[in-house]
């Protein structure tokens, strides 16, 4: 059976409960409380968590389609469950049996929501340079330091937290571990970060000050595997950001295609001017190519095959497609593209995040090239 029934429900949810509210919530940067509640009822927070742990166990391919549709309407909403599900995937792949049983059902029901805390004020791409430390003290780790740009940082309550359990280890990653950190004494949100787009969802700076985490929250139970755990969530993360890119690219195309048929200049709809036709054709082709790359990576993921290169290609291409289509949509819309009363400027503000987050596109190229060489030795 295909998953069109699932996508139909997503479409109905978007049409009824999201479309009428996006413009206001986005422009006023309001956290979409009521929509998040609907997303919880819909089951989105358990989408990719295994059915045996209370989730839906959806294949990554279906999940990517869901993310695309949601991003087409409002990208910020996808961020509310995306990093939550990456945290869940990390636990599902690497956690101890006890951790899976204790956490995954609560993640799936959204009783516990959260995300991923990797980035710090001094490092994002170079994760091995992190400075948040976790020092063992009896049956707890004592965590100190600062994480920044953490999505769901304010409204979430549990994070997959990348720390150094041995700051002096060489190679550096041997000293990295990942903890499941629930908010509590010593774990505070120091501020909400203001940003160009991606409004509505909270991005926050998190401060740890002698914050104690029981040792049984060390993901996998063994120190020194933190970077591996973080990377294990990245394939899903990249496919998921790539799917957002397809959503933005498609939204820019949809708006442009409609507008080009109703806006008239020199006696004809602008869709009849060749200059506009060239844009529409390129936008549609980019969108379709991006979608196929995402599908391909998702299929490999679902088969359990290695897909870091394919996910990287999908992420790179689809997010660049989003950025280009958003820019082209603005040109197609003329002055109205620049107006805050139309949705184009929002796509234009949202798209750039995609080329930065979940591994910058510069980094994606480096990963792709390294893989190319590794897979094709001479």
């Amino acid at each position: 059976m295909t998953d069109t029934d699932i996508l139909d429900s997503i479409d109905a949810f978007l049409a009824r409960d999201v479309v009428p509210h996006v413009h206001r919530l986005e422009h006023d940067d309001i956290y979409p409380e009521a929509i998040v509640e609907r997303m919880r009822e819909l089951g989105l927070f358990g989408a990719t968590i295994a059915a045996s742990f209370g989730g839906l166990g959806l294949p990554c391919a279906t999940y990517a389609d869901i993310v695309e549709r949601i991003a087409r309407v409002w990208m910020s909403l996808s961020g509310i469950f995306n990093s939550h599900l990456i945290m869940s995937a990390i636990v599902q792949r690497n956690g101890t049996e006890a951790q899976k049983r204790a956490f995954l059902p609560r993640f799936a029901s959204a009783e516990l929501r959260g995300g991923l805390a990797l980035t710090e004020p001094d490092c994002g791409t170079d994760l091995q340079a992190i400075r948040v430390t976790a020092r063992r003290d009896g049956d707890a780790y004592v965590v100190n330091g600062t994480k920044t740009w953490i999505s769901n940082g304010i409204h979430g309550s549990c994070f997959a937290l990348l720390v150094k359990t041995d700051p002096n280890a060489e190679p550096r990653h041997r000293g990295m571990s990942m903890l499941l950190a629930e908010k509590g004494a010593g774990f505070t949100v120091s501020r909400k970060l203001e940003k160009l787009g991606y409004k509505g969802i909270d991005s926050a700076e998190l401060v740890f000050d002698d914050y104690r985490v029981p040792v049984d929250r060390l993901i996998g139970g063994i120190e020194g595997r933190g970077l591996q755990h973080a990377l294990s969530g990245l394939e899903l993360g990249r496919i998921n950001v790539a799917a957002r890119g397809v959503g933005i690219a498609q939204a820019a195309l949809d708006e442009s295609l409609r507008y080009a048929q109703v806006r008239r200049t020199f006696g004809v709809p602008i869709a009849q001017h060749q200059a506009i036709q060239l844009k529409l054709a390129d936008m549609a082709t980019r969108t379709e190519a991006a979608r196929l790359l995402v599908r391909r990576a998702a299929e490999l993921y679902d088969r359990g095959d290695r897909c870091d290169m394919e996910a990287g290609m999908a992420k790179l291409f689809a997010t660049e497609a989003a950025l280009e289509n958003a820019t082209e949509a603005m040109r197609v819309h003329g002055g109205y593209g620049y107006s805050t009363e139309f949705p184009i400027e929002r796509l234009y503000r949202d798209a750039p995040l995609l080329v930065i987050g979940e591994g910058t596109n510069e980094l994606q190229r480096i990963i792709i090239a390294r893989q190319l060489v590794a897979r094709n030795p001479v």
Binding site: D5, D8, F13, R16, L42, G43, A51
Partner: protein, 249 residues
């Protein structure tokens, strides 16, 4: 109380319908199909009755090509308990559907059958009424509100010029109007659960019904294109045009 809810697979209401070049019907190849919106209202009402404790079981029925099973799944995801698919390639007209439903009703013994007032494909608005006649049951058509009390049901009907309230004795037939409720969309966990709910597969012959069409479609054509209107400068000019050009006053 058991409720029977017939659900029809129709071209989705968002699709811009196109007439086939040879005028024999409309294009359906590659077109998105969905549950008839009035039937969605019927399923929703049945599910609400069950949630209130007024119903114990909801059976969704669809008839036609094998893909009608998808329409039944939608009803199951909304909250129906099981499905019956009457599979046939024959063109199904209201009388045939009413006869098939009568046979199913005799087998299933529901207390209530909730149909859409019409299907958005052919807009016949006939099946519910025909079924009521064949079964000899009371009917409350175009319902905008229903209340069950004991073995009776009060139905507020949308009729020309206002609302009419009728009291029926169960078993009865209801057909839904737009304002009866706003149907829910199924949650993903309920969609997954619905995939495991049973659907019985029958053929018209199993029900002793010959679904042969009794009506012939002569021709299907696009409605005439609307011409652009004109703007009038004043009421006087409007009246003048209504008199001399439109010749309606």
């Amino acid at each position: 109380m058991k409720i029977l809810v017939p659900v029809k697979r129709v071209v989705d209401y968002n699709v811009k319908v196109r007439v086939k070049a040879d005028g024999t019907g409309i294009e359906t190849a590659g077109v998105k199909m969905s549950m008839n919106p009035f039937d969605e209202i019927g399923v929703e009402e049945a599910v609400r009755l069950k949630e209130k404790g007024a119903a114990t079981e909801i059976v969704a029925v669809s008839m036609g090509v094998p893909q009608c099973a998808e329409t039944i799944r939608t009803a199951l995801a909304m909250g129906a308990d099981r499905g019956i698919l009457v599979e046939t390639d024959a063109e199904l007209q209201p009388l045939a559907v009413a006869k098939l439903l009568k046979a199913i009703a005799e087998k299933e013994q529901p207390k209530l059958i909730i149909l859409g007032k019409q299907a958005i494909d052919d807009d016949m608005n006939a099946t519910g009424q025909m079924l009521a006649a064949l079964l000899g049951w009371p009917q409350g058509t175009f319902a905008s509100k229903i209340t069950i009390e004991g073995d009776g049901i009060t139905v507020t009907r949308e009729v020309d010029g206002g609302l009419e309230t009728v009291a029926l004795t169960l078993p009865a037939i209801i057909t839904t109007d737009l304002r009866l409720n706003e149907p829910r969309y199924a949650s993903l966990p309920n969609i997954m659960k619905a995939r495991k709910k049973p659907i019985d597969n029958l053929k018209p012959a199993d029900l002793g019904v010959d679904p042969k069409p009794r009506l012939t479609t002569v021709k299907v054509a696009e409605p005439p294109k609307r011409k652009a209107g004109v703007k009038v400068g004043s009421v006087a000019e409007l009246v003048e045009k209504l008199k001399t050009e439109a010749k309606v006053i």
